[in-house]
C-alpha cells in the first residue's frame, strides 16, 4: 500500500437534530480513486463539503501531507490543495468561460491593481486546449454553452491547478456519454500523478469500474472500506442498506397486453432548437420510456406535453378532446410533471414541505370554499409519510432535504393530486438504490391502477427495466421504437441514439 495522502480524523457535523456525519475517520492514499458510497443522507456530500470548504465541520481534523486542511471556502480549499466538482451547476451565468475558470483567483492575473484580462483569457484557452475542449472559447459567455459543456468547463476549473485531492460529487448523472469519458480521463490522470480522487456516485457499477477503493457510509457513520476488484454491486448494496436487497427492483412481467385506450396524444410537436415534429400516443396503464443522449430533445418533450414549453407548435390532446397548451390546464386535467431540474422547476426550494405538497391541490383541499391550515397539514403529512420522506416535520424547508428526499416530496405532491397521467423526467437522477427501488415499485403500482406514465431517462437499464414501450430520440426526432421484451439489449437502444 502506498503512502497516506489525506487523513480524516473524527470529522463531525450536525444540521439541527440531524447528525449528518458522526466522527468519521478515514484514510485516502496517493494514487487512488477512492469512491464514497451510501444512501441519500448518509453523509457523503457533507463529508466532502467539509473538506473542500463548502461547509464548516463541527469538530475533527483533515491532514493533507502532514498539514492540516481548514478551508474557509472553496477558493481557499483550492489553495490548500483540495478541489470539488459539484452535483448541480457550479458555474456562474453572465461571466465568460475564462472568468469562471479563474473565479476567485483573479489576483493571479492582477498587477498593480489592474487585471490583465488578455493574459487570463490566453491561459484559460491554453487550459481548455490541453484538456481537448478546444471548441470551447475562453472569451465566450458561459451562457452560450449547454449544461454538459458547462460541466466540462467546471472540470477544467476544478483540476487545472492539479489539486492533491479532487472530489467528484455525483457529477456523472448530469453528464452524457462524452462528458463522462472526459471526466474519467481527468480522474485517471489525477490518480496516475500520485494524487487522489474522491468519487461520489450512486451508480454502483460505475463505482466498481472506475474506482480502486470503496468506502461506505450509512446514516453518517463509517461502515467499511473494500477493494473495488473484490466486490459486486450486490455486496455494496448490502453494505449501504445494512440488509439484503432484492436484486429485482425493476418490473419482472413481460408480454402483458397494454390497453388500446389512448389517454394522451401529442401530434407534430415542435419546439425550436429542441424537438422537431415529434408525435406520441400514451395508452391507459402504459409506461412509455423515452431515451437518448442528453441533448436529443427528450427533456423538452416532457415540458411540451405538460404545456410548459415556450413557443411550442403542434397539439397535445386528451382522450376527451381537451387541448393542453398551458400548465394550469394540464394540472387541472390530471397531468403531473416532475422535472429533471428538481430544485428550480419541481420544487419551491425556499418553502416548506407542506406548501410544496399542497400547492397544486389547494382547490381540492377547500371545504365549503374555505382553505384551512389544518387540512393542509394533514394532507401534507399523509403523503409525505406515504412516501416515507425523511424529515423533522412538514414545516421543514425543502432546502434542508437531501436529493432523494426532495424527489419524494415531488412525488408525494402528485400522488396527493391523484394525477392520471404522470410525466417523470429523470425520476431517479442522483438518488440512491433504496429510494430508486421505492420509485420503481410506485410506478409499477400506479401502472396497475390504470395510471399512465411517461418516463424520460438517461439510464438505459431503467428504460429496459420499466417501460412497456421505449422511444429513442436523436436530434429532436424519434429515431427508434421498441416494445418491452426480455431479450431487448442496451446495445439495441444505443444503436438508435448515436
Amino acid at each position: 500500500m502506498s503512502e497516506i495522502l489525506l487523513h480524516a480524523e473524527k470529522i463531525d457535523k450536525n444540521f439541527g437534530v440531524t447528525h449528518a456525519i458522526d466522527h468519521v475517520t478515514l484514510d485516502f492514499y496517493k494514487g487512488e480513486i477512492h469512491a464514497l458510497i451510501g444512501e441519500n443522507g448518509s453523509g457523503k456530500s457533507t463529508f466532502t463539503s467539509c473538506l473542500t470548504g463548502i461547509y464548516h465541520k463541527d469538530s475533527g481534523e483533515f491532514t493533507l501531507n502532514g498539514t492540516e486542511v481548514n478551508a474557509r471556502n472553496q477558493v481557499d480549499g483550492n489553495y490548500q490543495g483540495v478541489a470539488i466538482i459539484v452535483q448541480e451547476i457550479g458555474t456562474l451565468s453572465g461571466l465568460s468561460v475564462a472568468e469562471n475558470i479563474f473565479l476567485g483567483k483573479e489576483d493571479e492575473f492582477t498587477k498593480c491593481g489592474v487585471k490583465n484580462t488578455n493574459a487570463m483569457n490566453k491561459k484559460a484557452q491554453e487550459l481548455l486546449d490541453s484538456y481537448g475542449f478546444n471548441y470551447i472559447k475562453a472569451t465566450d459567455l458561459i451562457d452560450n454553452y449547454n449544461f454538459e459543456d458547462r460541466k466540462l468547463i467546471e472540470i477544467v476549473k476544478a483540476t487545472h491547478f492539479k489539486p492533491q485531492i479532487l472530489v467528484v460529487d455525483e457529477t456523472t448523472t448530469a453528464l452524457g456519454e462524452k462528458g463522462r469519458i472526459e471526466l474519467f480521463k481527468v480522474m485517471k490522470q489525477t490518480r496516475d500523478d500520485g494524487r487522489c480522487v474522491i468519487f461520489i456516485s450512486h451508480d454502483l457499477e460505475e463505482v466498481i469500474e472506475q474506482s480502486d477503493t470503496i468506502s461506505v457510509l450509512r446514516d453518517g457513520v463509517y461502515i467499511d472500506t473494500v477493494k473495488s476488484a473484490d466486490v459486486t454491486p450486490d455486496d455494496l448494496k448490502k453494505l449501504m442498506v445494512g440488509r439484503e436487497m432484492s436484486n429485482d427492483y425493476y418490473r419482472t412481467d413481460y408480454g402483458e397486453r397494454v390497453s388500446d385506450e389512448v389517454v394522451l396524444r401529442g401530434e407534430h410537436l415542435t419546439v425550436p432548437g429542441e424537438i422537431d415534429d415529434f408525435s406520441i400516443e400514451l395508452h391507459k396503464g402504459e409506461i412509455i420510456g423515452i431515451g437518448g443522449l442528453s441533448e436529443c430533445g427528450m427533456h423538452e418533450v416532457g415540458k411540451a406535453l405538460f404545456g410548459a414549453s415556450y413557443d411550442r407548435k403542434g397539439t397535445v390532446t386528451l382522450a376527451d378532446g381537451t387541448q393542453i397548451n398551458d400548465i394550469k390546464t394540464a394540472i387541472d386535467h390530471s397531468i403531473a410533471y416532475a422535472s429533471k431540474d428538481r430544485d428550480n422547476e419541481s420544487l419551491v426550494i425556499n418553502d416548506t414541505i407542506q406548501d410544496n405538497i399542497c400547492l397544486p391541490s389547494l382547490e381540492e383541499l377547500k371545504k365549503n370554499h374555505i382553505l384551512h391550515a389544518k387540512d393542509q397539514k394533514v394532507f401534507a403529512e399523509k403523503y409525505a409519510k406515504q412516501m416515507s420522506t425523511k424529515m423533522e416535520g412538514v414545516h421543514q424547508f425543502m432546502s434542508a432535504l437531501s436529493g432523494g428526499n426532495k424527489q419524494k416530496v415531488v412525488l408525494a405532491r402528485w400522488i396527493g393530486k391523484d394525477s392520471d397521467i404522470v410525466i417523470l423526467d429523470s425520476p431517479t437522477r442522483g438518488i440512491d438504490v433504496k429510494v430508486k427501488a421505492d420509485i420503481y415499485q410506485l410506478m409499477d403500482t400506479m401502472r396497475k391502477n390504470g395510471k399512465s406514465i411517461i418516463m424520460i431517462s438517461e439510464e438505459i437499464a431503467e428504460l429496459l427495466g420499466m417501460a412497456d414501450r421505449i422511444i429513442i430520440m436523436k436530434d429532436g426526432r424519434q429515431s427508434g421504437e421498441f416494445k418491452r421484451a426480455e431479450d431487448l439489449k442496451d446495445t439495441d437502444l444505443i444503436a438508435e441514439m448515436v
Binding site: 450536525n14 444540521f15 439541527g16 437534530v17 440531524t18 463541527d58 405538460f306 410548459a308 398551458d326 400548465i327 394550469k328 394540464a330 394540472i331 387541472d332 410533471y337 422535472s339 428550480n344 422547476e345 419541481s346 420544487l347 419551491v348 426550494i349 425556499n350 418553502d351 416548506t352 406548501d355 399542497c358 400547492l359 397544486p360 389547494l362 382547490e363 383541499l365 377547500k366 370554499h369 374555505i370 382553505l371 384551512h372 391550515a373 393542509q376 424547508f397 432546502s399 405532491r413
Partner: protein, 311 residues
C-alpha cells in the same frame, strides 16, 4: 447549527412584537404617558388608517417578491379623483378612486410582467409620472372635496371601514389559497409556474388590486383632509415599506411572511413617529432616526440564507 438556527428563527418571530412593546414602553416613559391619553390615542388612530389600508396591497406585492414605490403618488392621484367627484356623488367618488388606483396598478403590473422590468424600476418611474400629474391637477388651487365630505371623518366610520378591509383581505389571503400562491411566487417563481400557478396573471392582478386598495385609502385620506394638494401622499411608499419591515416582513417576501406583519408594523411605525413628534424632535432628525431604524430592521429581517432577491 440547526438549533441556533431554530432559536434565531424564534428571535426573528418575536422581534417585531418585542419591538412594538419596546416602542410603546419607551414613549410612555419619554412622554410621561402623554402619548396615550384618550385624545392622543384617537388622533394616533386617525393618522394610522391610510397607512394601514395601503399596507395591505403592498404586503401582497412584497409577498410575491416585488416592491411598489408608486403608492404615494397613487394615493395623491386617487385623492384628486375622490375629492373632485365627491362634489357629484360620494359613492361614485369612492368607486372611481378605486378604478384610478387599479389602473395605475395595472400599468405597474403590465410593465413588470409583460415588459419584464423589475418592479423597483417600474414603480419608481410611475412614482414620478403620477406625482407630476397630481402637481398639474393642483397647480392653481388644491382640489377641494364636497363641503360635507369631512362629516364622514368620525372614529366609528373610519375604524369600521379600515377593519372591514383588513378582515376581508385577511380572509382572502389566508383561506382561499391566495396567500399560498403569492408566497410560492415569492419563494420560487419558476417552480410556482410548474405547480400550475398562473404567475403572470396573478402578478398583474395583485398590482391592480393593490392599486384599488390604495384607492380606498385615498377615500379615508380625503375625508380627513377635505382637499388635495400637490404633496398628498408624499413618501407614503417609504412609510409603507418601513412599517411592513418593522412588522417583521422579509423585504424579499416568500414563505416567511405573516399577515400580522401589516397591523403590527403600521402601529409600531405610527407610535414611533407620533412619539418623536410629541417629544418635539425636528423633522430632519426624525428622518435620520427612521432611516437608522429601517436599515437595522431590514438587516435583521432580510432572508439572506435563501439568497433571494427583490424582483
Amino acid at each position: 447549527m440547526g438549533k441556533t438556527k431554530n432559536s434565531a428563527g424564534l428571535i426573528r418571530t418575536l422581534m417585531p412584537f418585542a419591538g412594538f412593546i419596546f416602542i410603546v414602553g419607551l414613549f410612555a416613559f419619554l412622554t410621561k404617558g402623554r402619548l396615550y391619553t384618550v385624545g392622543n390615542l384617537k388622533l394616533l388612530l386617525s393618522q394610522t388608517y391610510v397607512l394601514l389600508i395601503a399596507c395591505v396591497g403592498v404586503f401582497m406585492i412584497m409577498t410575491m417578491g416585488g416592491l411598489d414605490f408608486s403608492q404615494g403618488s397613487m394615493l395623491g392621484l386617487c385623492s384628486v379623483v375622490v375629492c373632485y367627484l365627491s362634489n357629484i356623488n360620494i359613492a361614485l367618488a369612492v368607486v372611481c378612486g378605486m378604478i384610478t388606483g387599479g389602473l395605475i396598478g395595472l400599468i405597474n403590473g403590465f410593465f413588470n410582467v409583460k415588459r419584464k422590468i423589475t418592479s423597483f424600476i417600474v414603480t419608481i418611474c410611475n412614482m414620478y409620472l403620477f406625482r407630476g400629474i397630481v402637481a398639474y391637477a393642483t397647480t392653481k388651487t388644491p382640489v377641494y372635496g364636497a363641503s360635507n365630505i369631512t362629516t364622514y371623518n368620525t372614529l366609528p366610520f373610519a375604524l369600521t371601514f379600515t377593519l372591514v378591509i383588513l378582515v376581508v383581505a385577511f380572509v382572502i389571503f389566508q383561506y382561499t389559497g391566495l396567500g399560498n400562491r403569492l408566497k410560492a411566487i415569492g419563494a420560487g417563481e419558476t417552480a410556482a409556474r410548474f405547480a400550475g400557478i398562473r404567475v403572470e396573471r396573478t402578478k398583474i392582478l395583485v398590482y391592480a388590486a393593490a392599486g384599488m386598495i390604495t384607492g380606498l385609502a385615498a377615500f379615508i385620506n380625503s375625508i380627513k383632509v377635505g382637499s388635495v394638494t400637490a404633496t398628498a401622499g408624499n413618501q407614503l411608499e417609504t412609510q409603507i415599506m418601513i412599517a411592513l419591515v418593522l412588522g417583521g416582513m422579509p423585504v424579499n417576501g416568500g414563505a416567511k411572511v405573516k399577515f400580522y406583519n401589516i397591523i403590527l408594523g403600521a402601529l409600531t411605525y405610527k407610535i414611533l413617529t407620533a412619539g418623536l413628534v410629541m417629544l418635539g424632535i425636528e423633522p430632519k432628525t426624525q428622518q435620520l432616526i427612521m432611516g437608522i431604524v429601517f436599515l437595522v430592521m431590514v438587516a435583521i429581517f432580510a432572508d439572506r440564507e435563501t439568497g433571494m432577491i427583490v424582483k
